[in-house]
């Protein structure tokens, strides 16, 4: 064989882009082989360290549940109480940064080189980034969060030892029903609008830029090339990737565990299916099994298909609620909520001197840490499906459109529930437990059994779409950025995730590990800010080539 063609310099990609010339070859640190006849191709340090430390943490929380719970909740309190200003400030910085990208000339840089064409249509792309990003949260909080903030805003503020003890946002709107609705909706949208999507967009953009334009492997460490240079292929990179795997797996496993509990509550309410570990384990197993089929069918045949199915179903449910609910009220409510959001945004986003400590620490900081700890997973997934878009198009579609969809969703579901409270004096949804609030609200509308059933299907399928895209992401990171690693590996991660969820559910420790995941959000906040700098540097070199 006279084939000596590999590594003879780098020809131009599709059109111009500033490829980083590195000596590192993708898969260089990988170990390939086969065990029991199944092939594997893994990045050894990252795969082994993250796999073993995940097992160690699960054993720790199950063996010493009380100690683990107190350690992790102390970590969590420390984070949200002492660094609330930092989290709030960092999220603001990221929002301003991404909005600036739309209007500056950097927005014209195309991901994948100047002549790259998009891999996915808008519909498929949008469905996938939404399903991975927050689909499940919208199902649970769409009714409950607007109701909660509305109630606390309406209530009185209380001060004890100079600290506010009520949970109302800002200065509340005691006794003022209209004011409380407006403040409650503004606070809800604040948590689901620009800020979370700006966090996702930043991580996704950093990864897409350094993968598609710079030719580096699709893994979190690549985004830090401008800071660490070639050293990123050593232990610094291993640490970044391992923490990302850790946050992703525990984030997924804990929400899978909680999700099973919540889906169980819904099934109990609707069909009288018994509550308990047995049902929940069956639910996790079923969700994992469907996710498994989805990852085996791959990105197009599995993940994209389910995401589109879910977006269609969610759209139908929202449209149904809008039409059979108080339509005119909801439409004005949407505009009114949007105006309230803009009006209260500066005050809600203010990181310093807040006296609504319970709200700004217990809600806002909690959410920011949660979104940030999910950002490696969601960001990497969005990056994977975003090739061929310009930076401007990317930011508009990952920041502005999802934010508007969230405003619309919260307005329809929260608005219907608030309308039920205000005009029908129906407080069933308000008084119910969190996972049931959506179903109580739907119960007051026609065709309740059908819509509630669709609601449960949506909850379950949103879990599947998080689980399958999460398995793809973890597999890619632990394979050193290879997307074509042997399929049994992603099967392993998918099953592992379900197994961790079941172990935590039976052994206890879901809450403990969730507070630990959120604590890692603080660590990633520093990473997030560094990414803004790296994106800026990366875009600068792209512009220089254009």
């Amino acid at each position: 064989m006279t084939d000596e063609t590999a590594n003879q310099g780098i020809p131009d990609p599709e059109g111009t882009s500033a490829v980083i010339d590195t000596d590192f070859e993708i898969g260089q640190s990988n170990v390939e082989g086969s065990a029991l006849g199944l092939h594997f191709d893994i990045h050894n340090p990252v795969f082994m360290i993250s796999g073993l430390s995940i097992i160690a943490f699960v054993f720790y929380t199950i063996a010493l549940p009380e100690q683990a719970a107190s350690v992790f909740s102390a970590m969590f309190d420390f984070t949200t109480k002492n660094f609330d200003w930092f989290l709030i400030l960092a999220a603001d910085v990221v929002v301003v940064f991404t909005l600036l990208l739309i209007v500056t000339p950097y927005g014209s840089v195309r991901l994948g080189g100047s002549d790259a064409t998009p891999d996915y249509s808008y519909v498929g792309w949008f469905a996938m980034l939404f399903a991975a990003g927050m689909g499940i949260g919208l199902m649970f909080y769409g009714v409950s969060e607007p109701l909660t903030h509305f109630s606390t805003s309406l209530g009185e503020t209380a001060v004890e030892n100079g600290l506010r003890t009520d949970w109302a946002p800002l200065a509340a709107a005691t006794g003022d029903q209209d004011g409380a609705v407006r403040l409650g909706m503004a606070a809800t949208i604040f948590h689901w609008g620009l800020h979370p999507w700006a966090i996702y967009a930043t991580v996704a953009l950093a990864l897409a830029l350094f993968t598609y334009n710079k030719g580096l492997p699709l893994t979190i460490r690549s985004a830090f090339y401008p800071i660490f240079g070639e050293k990123i292929w050593g232990w610094r990179g291993h640490v970044v990737d391992t923490v990302a795997v850790f946050a992703t797996l525990f984030g997924l496993a804990t929400s899978l565990g909680f999700g099973a509990t919540q889906a169980n509550a819904g099934l109990n309410e609707l069909f009288g299916i018994p509550m308990g570990n047995t049902t929940e384990v069956i639910l996790i197993t079923a969700i994992t099994a469907v996710a498994l089929i989805s990852v085996l069918r791959g990105l197009d045949g599995g993940v994209k298909l389910l995401s589109e199915l879910n977006m269609g179903l969610a759209g139908l449910l929202a449209l149904f609620t809008l039409i059979v609910g108080p339509t005119v009220f909801l439409l004005t409510f949407f505009l009114q909520s949007l105006v309230a959001y803009v009006e209260y945004l500066p005050a809600l986003a203010n990181p310093f001197g807040r006296d609504d400590v319970n709200f700004s620490q217990g809600w806002t900081s909690f959410y920011w840490a949660w979104w940030i700890s999910w950002s490696p997973f969601v960001g990497m997934f969005i990056a994977r499906v975003s090739r061929g878009r310009t930076v401007r198009e990317f930011v508009v579609c990952v920041l502005l459109i999802p934010s508007m969809v969230c405003v619309l969703w919260m307005s329809i579901f929260g608005g219907t529930a608030i309308h039920q409270v205000l005009t029908d004096n129906f407080t069933g949804a308000q008084d119910a437990e969190l996972p049931l609030q959506l179903f109580k609200m739907l119960g007051e509308l026609p065709l309740a059994s059908i819509t509630s059933f669709i609601g449960i299907v949506l909850v379950i399928v949103f879990f599947v779409t998080s689980s399958d895209s999460g398995s793809l992401v973890i597999d890619t990171i632990t394979a050193g950025g290879k997307v074509d690693a042997p399929v049994p590996q992603r099967v392993f991660w998918c099953i592992f995730e379900g197994a961790v969820a079941i172990a935590l559910l039976i052994g206890g420790g879901l809450a403990a590990l969730q507070s630990m995941v959120i604590s890692t959000g603080l660590l990633f906040t520093v990473v997030l800010l560094a990414m803004c700098y790296c994106i800026f540097r990366g875009l600068q070199s792209e512009r220089a080539k254009m």
Partner: protein, 141 residues
Amino acid sequence: MFTRILTPVDLAHKDRLGRALQCAADLARLHGVPVVYVGVSASVPTAVAHNPAEYKTRLSEFAAAQGAAHGIETEAHARISHDPATDLEATLLKAIDETGADLVVMASHVPGLADRIWASNGSRIAEHAKVSVMIVRDAPA
């Protein structure tokens, strides 16, 4: 008997293809027909190339080198897949149609226990392709 031979190649594991490449070349000479080398890659950077355009260049270079080494006519046919780990077989089956090949010569490992659950790419292509498929195993020990 045959008019065009298709040979799937994994540019990241060229060392495992030796016997299949030799076999394809021998058949091509025997029948005086061209060999089309088909490669499937992802749009993200891989061990072989930084982007799809570079991958196409790599595959063309590979095909040209094979042609020179074996004295046969060769072509390259690169396909980009969103998820090559799962879409490989479907992409290869499509490539058979696109190239109009009527014989597939491809490498595969000696089946083991795991193949009972997880069929190899070779066996699935043989199962679904409408054209003749020749699977070239590793040399017997």
